[in-house]
C-alpha cells in the first residue's frame, strides 16, 4: 500500500498529494510518470511525477478532477493509501545545458513542467517559463516556478491574473524578440494547448518537446492503447515517450483518440457524483458538519 502523507488543495479541482513510494522515488527523474490504482475496482491512471524526494522515499502527484477516478481520488485524505503505484515509467527528459530555453505549462501541466524547469536551471540553462490557466484559481506553483526560472510570465484566459492572453502570445513575442536565441522549448498542458504551441513554434524551427498523456492501461508497452501517430509512424507514449517532438505529432488523431472513451467517462462521472452527493447528504442528515 502507498500511503498519502500530505494533501494540499491547490484549487477546487486541483489537488496535490505526497505519496510514500520509495521504490519509485529512488529512480524518478524529471519527465517520467507513474500509474496509480486507488483500489481493486479502480482503473490504472497515468500521472506525471511533479516532484520526488529520494531521501524521504516520496513522490508528489498533482491532478485535476476531471472524471470519476480523479474526483474519487480527490476525496482521499492523508493516511489513506493507494493500493498500487508503479513506476517510474517513460523516458526522462534529456537535461543538458542548451543555453536559452522556454518551459510552458498550462493548467495542471504546470506541475510536470516544474521538475523539468528546475533541472534545466540546475544544468545552467537560462530558463524562461510561461505558465497559464483558464483563470487565476487554476494557476498553481507560481512561487516554485519563479524560483527555478530566470523569467516568469503568467497568463490567464479570463485576465483574472497576469496577462489576459493564451500562453502562445508571450511565446511568440519571445521568439520574435530573441531570434535564434531559443534552443529548446518544453510545453506541457492540455492537448489543445500543446497543439497550438507546436503551431506557434514551428515557423521558427525551434525544437519543441511536448509530454503526452494519452489513454493507457498497463503503461509498459503491453496494450498499445496509448499509441500516437508521428510523421515517421506510430509510437507508444508509455515506452517511447512520454516526450515527443511537437512538430511531428498528428494532433487531430491524438485528440480524437483521447475522446474515444468520453461517453463512458461521462456516465461514470455522473453516477459517481450522484452517489457521492447521496452519501454527503446522508452524512449531513446524520449530523456531520
Amino acid at each position: 500500500m502507498y500511503r498519502i502523507l500530505e494533501k494540499q488543495v491547490l484549487s477546487d479541482v486541483t489537488k496535490l498529494m505526497v505519496v510514500e513510494a520509495p521504490q519509485v522515488a529512488r529512480k524518478a527523474r524529471a519527465g517520467q510518470f507513474i500509474i496509480v490504482l486507488m483500489h481493486d475496482q479502480g482503473e490504472r491512471i497515468p500521472l506525471t511525477i511533479a516532484d520526488y524526494d529520494r531521501a524521504a522515499g516520496t513522490i508528489t502527484l498533482i491532478f485535476q478532477e476531471v472524471g470519476k477516478s480523479t474526483k474519487e481520488m480527490g476525496t482521499m485524505n492523508v493516511g489513506d493509501s493507494f493500493s498500487h503505484v508503479v513506476g517510474p515509467l517513460g523516458h526522462a527528459t534529456d537535461i543538458e545545458n542548451y543555453g536559452e530555453v522556454i518551459c510552458v505549462g498550462g493548467g495542471v501541466g504546470i506541475a510536470p513542467v516544474y521538475p523539468i524547469a528546475r533541472e534545466l536551471k540546475e544544468a545552467g540553462n537560462h530558463v524562461t517559463s510561461i505558465i497559464g490557466a483558464r483563470t487565476k484559481e487554476l494557476l498553481l506553483w507560481e512561487d516554485k516556478m519563479r524560483a527555478v526560472s530566470d523569467e516568469l510570465i503568467i497568463t490567464t484566459d479570463d485576465g483574472s491574473y497576469g496577462r489576459k492572453e493564451l500562453v502562445t502570445t508571450p511565446l511568440k513575442e519571445i521568439l520574435d524578440s530573441r531570434p535564434g536565441k531559443i534552443k529548446k522549448i518544453w510545453a506541457i498542458g492540455p492537448a489543445i494547448m500543446m497543439k497550438f504551441v507546436a503551431m506557434t513554434t514551428k515557423p521558427y524551427n525551434v525544437h519543441t518537446i511536448v509530454s503526452l498523456n494519452t489513454i493507457m492501461i498497463d503503461g509498459t508497452g503491453m496494450c498499445g492503447g496509448c499509441r500516437v501517430v508521428l510523421d515517421d509512424g506510430a509510437k507508444f507514449v508509455c515506452v517511447d515517450g512520454p516526450e515527443f517532438d511537437a512538430h511531428k505529432v498528428d494532433w487531430n488523431n491524438l485528440m480524437s483518440r483521447l475522446s474515444f472513451y468520453r461517453p463512458e467517462e461521462e456516465s461514470a462521472t455522473r453516477r459517481f457524483e450522484k452517489d457521492h452527493k447521496c452519501k454527503l447528504d446522508r452524512a449531513i442528515a446524520n449530523g456531520v458538519k
Binding site: Q23, V24, K27, L37, Q41, G42, E43, R44, K68, S69, S83, H84, V85, V86, G87, P88, L89, I217, D218, T220, G221, M222, C223, G224, G225, R227, V229, A234, V239, D250, N252, N253, S256, R257, F260, Y261, E264, E265, S267, A268, R271
Partner: protein
C-alpha cells in the same frame, strides 16, 4: 468397478465434459467447461489401457507421470493422484484448462490410433480442481540453502520456476510489473476459460504461502529495478517476463478509434474486469461488427469475449446482438488455436473468414473505423513453418463493414526489461538467447524461459522451461558447476 478387460475399456466412449450451453454462456463470462464429476473422471480413467511403454508422457513438456495419476483416479485415491501430479506439475488446474492436449499427451495416446484418446487434460483438470477444493497435499519448503533468487515475471514460466526453487529451499522473490500476479494467465486468458479467483489466485496464494515466496507487484524490471541491480542482490536470476508487446499490421488506418490490440481488449476485460463496468472503473468497448485478425488462441479469446460483451449490451438495451468475425489469411487447416477453443467459438456463433487478409482500415469523418478493406488469399507453396503460405489473389479486394478491429497477430518480448542488462544477448526478434535444455543465458547467473525466449507460445511450454531452469539453477546454487 470390477476389473475390466482391455476390450471392455476400449468400449467406453470418451467422456464429454459438462459445459454451459452456447446460447446461455455467451450471456456471461463464467467458465464454459464445468469439469468432470468424480464419477465421470473415474469412468474416463477406466479407458486408459495402462500401456507398458506409455507414449503419452513423451508428449508432455513437464513429463507428468500420466498413467500413474490416471490409475490413482481410477482407484478413487485422489490424494495419491494429486501427489503424483504435483511431483511434476505444480499447476494442474491451469494446465488441464489451457494445454493443447490434442497435440501433446493425447496425440500420443494409443487409443487415438483407432478411436479417441483418453481425455488426459480433463482428468488432469479434475485432479487440479480436487486439490484446490480439498488441499490434500501440503507443499513443503526444503531446508533453507541461504541462497537468494530473483524471479522476474509471475506468469507460467516464472511461477513454475519460483515454486520449484522454493521447494528446493531457496529464498525466492518474484517481481511482477502489474498489480496482480499471474502474467498472461490473468491479463490474457479470459475468465470463461480460466477463472481468476477460483483457480489462478488460489493456486498462487497457496503456493506462495506454503513456500514463503515473496511476490512484489508494481516492480517493472528495467524501470523500477534493473537487471544489474538484481545481480548485485541475488545469487541467481530467472527471467520469465513473457512476450507482452503487441504487433500491429503495417497497413494504413491502424490508428483510427476502434482499432486495438487483442492485448488491450483482453487486458481491459480480464485484468481490469471491464465487462463489469461501471462496477469496475475501466471500460471496454465492443462494436456491433467486430473483426479479429488472426486465428490463434488469443484471437479466439478476443472473439469470444467480444461476443459476450455484445450479448450483455444487447440484453441491457433490448437490442439484437452483433457479429464477430475471425479474419485469417490462411485456411481452416492451418488454424493455430487449440481445438476446443475453435469448437467453442464456432458453437457460440463466431464467423470464420478464412483466406482473407486486411489491406487497409477505413475511417469515417470522426476518425472511427467504418470498414476494413480485405483481399482474398490462396495457398501457395509451404513456407519455413511447413504451412502453405498464403498468396494474395489479384483484384479480389472487397470492403468488410466493421466498427471494431482487434489485432491478434502475436506478441514479442518487452524491450523495457533489458535496460541495464549488461551483456544479455538477444535475437533479432528481441527474444533472449537461452539454452533450450537448461535456460542459461549468455550472462552468468541469469536464466530465462517461456515466451521471452521462444516468442509467444503455450502456457505449458513456458512451465516446462521454468522447470528445467529451476533444476539447473539449483545445481548452480549448490556449487555443482561454475557456469
Amino acid at each position: 468397478m470390477a476389473q475390466l478387460t482391455q476390450k471392455e475399456r476400449m468400449k467406453i466412449p470418451r467422456q464429454d465434459m459438462p459445459v454451459q450451453a452456447p446460447e446461455e454462456r455467451v450471456q456471461n463470462f463464467k467458465e464454459v467447461a464445468l469439469g468432470y464429476t468424480l464419477e465421470l473422471a473415474k469412468l474416463e480413467a477406466e479407458r486408459c489401457l495402462q500401456c507398458k511403454d506409455p507414449h503419452c508422457m513423451e508428449g508432455c513438456p513437464v513429463e507428468v507421470r500420466i498413467p500413474e495419476f490416471i490409475q490413482a483416479v481410477r482407484d478413487g485415491d485422489m490424494a495419491e493422484a494429486v501427489k503424483i501430479m504435483k511431483s511434476k506439475n505444480n499447476l494442474p488446474a491451469i494446465c488441464g484448462r489451457v494445454c493443447p492436449q490434442e497435440v501433446q499427451c493425447e496425440s500420443r495416446c494409443i487409443l487415438g490410433k483407432k478411436g479417441e484418446p483418453v481425455a488426459i487434460g480433463r482428468i488432469e483438470r479434475f485432479v487440479g480442481d480436487y486439490e484446490l477444493a480439498n488441499k490434500t497435499l501440503e507443499m513443503t519448503k526444503g531446508a533453507p540453502t541461504g541462497k537468494k533468487v530473483a524471479v522476474c515475471g509471475s506468469g507460467p514460466a516464472g511461477l513454475t520456476c519460483a515454486v520449484d526453487l522454493a521447494r528446493m529451499g531457496h529464498e525466492v522473490t518474484i517481481f511482477e510489473s502489474l498489480h496482480t500476479p499471474g502474467g498472461v494467465l490473468v491479463y490474457g486468458i479470459p475468465e470463461f476459460r480460466l477463472p481468476k479467483d477460483a483457480v489462478i489466485k488460489a493456486e498462487i496464494e497457496t503456493a506462495a504461502k506454503a513456500l514463503s515466496i515473496r511476490i512484489l507487484t508494481d516492480y517493472i524490471i528495467g524501470r523500477t529495478l534493473t537487471i544489474d541491480e538484481l545481480q548485485a542482490q541475488y545469487d541467481a536470476i530467472f527471467l520469465g517476463t513473457g512476450a507482452g508487446l503487441p504487433m500491429f499490421m503495417r497497413i494504413p488506418g491502424i490508428n483510427f478509434n476502434g482499432v486495438m490490440s487483442a492485448n488491450e481488449f483482453l487486458t481491459r476485460c480480464n485484468l481490469m474486469k471491464g465487462y463489469r463496468f461501471p462496477e469496475f472503473d475501466t471500460p471496454v468497448k465492443v462494436g456491433k461488427r467486430v473483426a479479429v485478425i488472426g486465428a490463434g488462441n488469443v484471437a479466439m479469446d478476443a472473439a469470444r469475449s467480444a461476443l459476450r460483451l455484445q450479448s450483455l449490451i444487447a440484453r441491457a438495451n433490448g437490442e439484437s446482438g452483433g457479429e464477430v468475425h475471425i479474419v485469417y489469411r490462411r485456411s481452416s487447416d492451418e488454424v493455430p488455436a487449440r481445438l476446443e477453443e475453435v469448437h467453442h467459438a464456432k458453437e457460440e456463433g463466431v464467423i470464420f473468414d478464412f483466406l482473407t487478409n486486411p489491406v487497409e482500415i477505413l475511417g469515417d469523418d470522426k476518425n472511427a473505423v467504418r470498414a476494413m478493406r480485405c483481399i482474398r488469399m490462396e495457398l501457395g507453396e509451404p513456407d519455413q513453418s511447413g504451412r502453405r503460405s498464403p498468396v494474395a489473389v489479384k483484384g479480389s479486394e472487397f470492403d468488410m463493414e466493421v466498427d471494431q478491429v482487434i489485432f491478434a497477430l502475436g506478441t514479442s518480448p518487452n524491450p523495457l526489461v533489458f535496460n541495464n542488462a549488461g551483456g544479455l544477448e538477444r535475437s533479432k526478434w528481441g527474444t533472449v538467447v537461452a539454452d533450450k535444455e537448461n535456460g542459461r543465458t549468455t550472462v552468468k547467473g541469469i536464466w530465462a524461459g517461456g515466451d521471452v525466449v521462444t516468442g509467444a507460445a503455450t502456457v505449458i511450454s513456458a512451465m516446462g522451461a521454468g522447470k528445467r531452469a529451476a533444476a539447473d539453477m539449483d545445481r548452480y546454487l549448490k556449487g555443482e558447476f561454475d557456469w
